[in-house]
């Protein structure tokens, strides 16, 4: 049954991380009666296991539901969930393109945060109607009036009649629903025009092939139609169309203009589908594709290898499948003497990198080893050639380098004023250039810095949080490349250079970092049958050294009747642990040692 386009509302929820976006999504789904109470586990939209655990949304999800409004009419709500972290701006903009409105959730005590602003600007850029909502009014520190004023002052949105709600306590959710009906404009579109639909997400399903999530702009699509994906020039016959429900899907005859839904077409080839591409009819194609998405630029690169070298093809498959619904992930084969065959992967940021690693490990059951993340450096050689380096292995010999350049970001840090001193110390340690500070209001300052990207990709965010008791937020964007004194630091285990542990660092930071790395490796490499020197070197010169002492004792002193089963398990676990270690030359190195090198500030 085609739905009246005037009764469709396509909207997203945008918020700073932890301001309650997922909980509000759940409440809206709940209020539409879309999920039975039994299925209503917390945060139904976050259906990746990992998202639930971390309490954050990584992938955008879309659901369709019906809302019976106070005016007596039934509305079709398409709710598209968006991620909230700075690394995922790209995903947010993708989701927003499929909507006419956005519900902006602001925490009633914390007020407007860096990410609130960034997401709001993205929504405004996409021409969306914004519906502000004040959440968490049940908390003792809630101050809705102050927050309303903030929204008006800082974002410039009228917030007088913004619903004051508690998603957690289920207070005033109804007001949000009515605001969506009233304020979010219905979509427009011509049902008789040639099909024009935007692919805003997709997902791999082992049985049905790739499931393509689309928003219809003009025309309609149904089973049996021949479609063309314009950018990739791939042609398929549609098998099924329908709507995504909070749990499961509901197939329908045709998807009409303004609707959000899915298409299956037995698409097996991952390269045939691209998020941002335009779906049209093969027989009556539209004249022009929709403008594609801004391609996200990976900023952090790292080598990803399987702990078990023979699983390399599995890793390639897994990366291809992940890339399908995370176009911001890039990868290219690379090889390392120490680790064998793997991939050089590009990520939006460090959190993105961690999430991808965890998804690879959980969803594809892989044990991974990742190398220290690197940013992209530009090197001008003495012969005038310019090289782009995202892998320390390719770092040219210093004698042929004329000038090295590293990327800088413009960072804005919003913090309560009492932490300004701590943040200044931190940014100075990280070679930051102070560009002034504004007071947003008496309780919050916004500090402006220019920072080298390679100083913030490791653990800057963690350090910032720990020095401000979690209050500060960070937003950054790449600004430019600047000349810099860079050196390549090598790590040697038992005298052999381990290429996978090399990285590029600012010359002034080389000594302290080399010492920390040597210490970390010493602590994370288990004792082996012989003594292992751990060294860090620039060129051929050793600048730090630690020693992993030889194993002296690893024995179960007591093993009587009751101990045998337990101790057998212990030995089996030890055997498993050994299997997960990577033999680098003569030395067995556990995965954790590679990870530890990334977190030097702990």
């Amino acid at each position: 049954m085609p739905h009246d386009i005037k009764k469709i509302r396509n909207f997203s929820i945008i918020a700073h991380i932890d301001h309650g976006k997922s909980t509000l999504s759940d409440r809206i789904i709940d209020a539409c009666g879309a999920v039975s109470a039994r299925d209503m586990t917390d945060q139904v939209l976050d259906n990746m296991e990992l998202e639930k655990e971390r309490g954050i949304t990584i992938k955008a999800r879309a659901v369709t539901m019906t809302y019976k409004a106070d005016d007596g009419e039934s509305y079709l709500f398409n709710l598209i969930d968006t991620p909230g972290h700075v690394d995922f701006n790209y995903e947010v903009s993708r989701s927003l393109r499929a909507c006419e409105g956005a519900v902006l959730v602001v925490d009633a005590s914390q007020g407007v945060e860096a990410q609130t602003l960034a997401n709001t600007y993205l929504a405004i850029d996409s021409d969306l109607e914004i519906v502000p909502v004040i959440n968490k009014i049940d908390l003792p520190a809630a101050d809705p009036e102050r927050v309303k004023k903030e929204i008006e002052d800082i974002i410039g949105l009228p917030a007088d009649d913004a619903p004051c709600i508690s998603a957690k306590q289920n207070i005033n959710i109804h007001d949000v629903m009515e605001k969506v009906v009233r304020d979010v404009p219905p979509p427009s579109g011509d049902p008789d025009a040639p099909l024009r639909a935007l692919i805003f997400d997709c997902q791999y399903d082992a049985y049905r092939g790739i499931i393509v999530y689309i928003r219809i702009l003009d025309g309609s699509v149904g089973a049996g139609d021949s479609i063309l994906m314009m950018n990739r020039d791939s042609r398929y016959e549609v098998v099924e169309v329908g709507h995504m429900l909070p749990i499961g899907v509901s197939p329908c005859e045709r998807l009409m203009p303004g609707e959000v839904g899915y298409i299956t077409a037995s698409i097996k080839a991952l390269r045939d589908v691209e998020v941002g591409d335009t779906v049209t009819s093969l027989e009556h194609p539209c004249s022009e594709p929709l403008p594609g998405y801004r391609k996200a630029q990976p900023m952090v690169f790292s080598g990803v290898y399987t702990a078990d070298g023979s699983k390399y093809p599995d890793l390639r498959d897994a990366l291809e499948k992940l890339q399908l619904n995370d176009a911001s992930l890039t990868f290219e084969p690379e090889s390392s003497i120490a680790l064998g065959y793997g991939f050089r992967c590009g990520f939006l940021g460090l959190l993105h990198m961690e999430i991808i690693q965890e998804r690879l490990e959980r969803e594809f059951d892989l044990d991974l080893i990742t190398t220290a993340p690197s940013v992209v450096y530009k090197i001008l050689l003495t012969n005038g050639e310019e090289r782009t380096i995202d892998n320390p292995l390719n770092y040219p010999d210093p004698s042929i380098i004329d000038t090295a350049f590293e990327p800088f970001v413009k960072a804005s840090i919003i913090t309560p004023p009492e932490y300004v001193g701590n943040i200044m110390d931190l940014c100075t340690e990280r070679r930051g250039i102070y560009n002034g500070m504004d007071y947003l209001d008496p309780t919050r300052a916004e500090m402006h810095y220019e920072l080298p990207l390679n100083e913030i990709i490791y653990d800057f965010f963690d350090a910032l949080k720990s020095r401000t008791r979690g209050y500060a937020s960070l937003d950054y964007e790449i600004c430019d490349y600047r000349p810099s004194k860079l050196v390549k630091l090598d790590v040697l285990l038992n005298g052999d250079t381990v290429d996978a542990l090399s990285f590029i660092v600012h010359a002034d930071k080389a000594y302290p970092r080399a010492r920390r790395i040597a210490e970390k490796l010493k602590d994370n490499i288990p004792r082996q049958m012989f003594e292992i020197p751990v060294q860090a070197a620039i060129g051929g010169k050793i600048i730090a050294r630690e020693t992993v002492k030889a194993l002296r004792k690893d024995v179960l002193a007591k093993c009587y009747g009751g101990d045998i089963t337990r101790k057998k398990k212990l030995l089996e676990k030890q055997k498993e642990g050994k299997k997960r270690m990577r033999g680098l030359g003569t030395v067995d190195v556990p995965q954790e040692a590679f990870m530890a090198v990334l977190k030097l500030d702990e």
């Binding site: 002296r552 004792k553 024995v555 007591k558 009751g562 101790k567 089996e572």
Partner: protein, 349 residues
């Protein structure tokens, strides 16, 4: 007739030692008649399963079995008698040197106990205090004398190395005291700091020091005529613990009491760690003879038979040749090898 070992667990102590992670409760004398009753019930109830068996060894361990009254002891022994005690070759009773009297020891000896295992642990009183032991070293020496007078000709002493504050010199004093008593058997254990014990977080194990103490102690005991026959056990010729050898050679035994394990008719099973429900509940642990033969056989000086090893296992052992003794027919580990035996065994299983 098949032979059987019987283990009886007595999970009570007067006070719990700071390092102990065995299942035991602190209590005072006479508190545990209820426990004895359910123990006896489970011994009687199991008997029909053991038709065709006769008892080879009995071992009362704990906890502190020497806290039980002699009436209770006799009642438990009476419950075991139907299993067939005529062929009994060893009957061990663990005793805390602070809890024995001449009368008690006479009673045990009279009812067939022929081996005592005393928890001496250290000959240095400050170390005993650190461990939380309720006896001093001179009390331990006195208890040992009482046991000899009561007619015990097979006595074992426990010693611990790696006690916080212990040095090579203080270990020597403990060994001196032990050797001066001339026991038939010595167990020499490394202190393991287990999660959940009061020692955890307060002390850490020093692997290098423990390794040094172990090798030094083993050397001294060997020089005094003790055979190093298992990772942590030393005996005068003919005085290995027969009951404990059953564990390491995969022979059958039944354990009664909470947390007591059994290997019987090709199954491993055990009662849970719970004083109330142990007799009614049984949990299974897998029995994997091939793996266990390696894991347990390499703990003993008898080692494992070469003919039972795969080529891959032989190759691993070859890699560790400085730690291996090859007697032609069998392979065993030397003291240095035992020190890193987890590393070696985990590669073999």
């Amino acid at each position: 007739m098949n032979k059987l070992g019987i283990y009886v667990h007595f999970p009570f102590c007067r006070s719990k030692c700071g390092y102990c992670d065995f299942y035991s409760k602190s209590c005072t004398d006479g508190f545990f008649t209820d426990y004895t009753r359910s123990l006896i019930r489970s011994i009687v109830a199991f008997k029909p399963n053991a038709e065709g068996y006769t008892v080879d060894t009995v071992y009362f361990g704990g906890g502190t079995p020497s806290l039980m009254s002699m009436g209770e002891f006799s009642a438990i022994r009476r419950a075991i008698r139907p299993y067939g005690l005529d062929g009994l070759s060893e009957f061990t009773f663990e005793a805390n040197p602070g809890t024995v009297s001449f009368e008690k020891l006479r009673h045990l000896r009279f009812w067939g106990v022929d081996r005592l295992s005393f928890g001496l642990q250290s000959g240095v009183d400050s170390e005993l205090a650190t461990l939380g032991r309720i006896h001093t070293s001179s009390e331990a020496a006195d208890a040992f004398g009482l046991a000899r007078r009561a007619g015990f000709e097979n006595i074992s002493l426990d010693l611990i190395y790696g006690i916080p504050g212990q040095t090579k010199e203080s270990l020597d004093r403990s060994i001196d005291l032990a050797l001066s008593l001339s026991p038939e058997h010595i167990s020499f254990y490394g202190l393991k700091i287990e999660p959940g014990t009061p020692f955890f977080g307060r002390y850490t194990e020093d692997d290098d020091l423990q390794a040094e103490l172990y090798l030094h102690g083993a050397e001294r005991l060997k020089a005094a005529g003790y055979e190093h026959y298992e990772v942590s056990n030393f005996a005068r010729p003919g005085f290995r613990s027969k009951h404990n050898m059953r564990y390491w050679t995969l022979e059958e035994y039944i354990g009664f009491g909470p947390s007591a394990h059994s290997l019987f008719k090709g199954r491993r099973f055990y009662h849970p760690n719970d004083l109330e429900s142990f007799s009614s509940e049984i949990e299974e642990g897998p029995f994997e003879p091939e793996k266990e033969y390696i894991m347990l056989g390499l703990r003993t000086s008898d080692g494992v038979k070469k003919e039972l090893l795969t080529d891959a296992q032989k190759a691993v052992l070859k890699k560790y040749s400085p730690y291996v003794i090859d007697s032609g027919e069998s392979i065993s580990l030397n003291a240095e090898g035992w020190l890193i035996s987890n590393r070696i065994i985990s590669e073999l299983i």
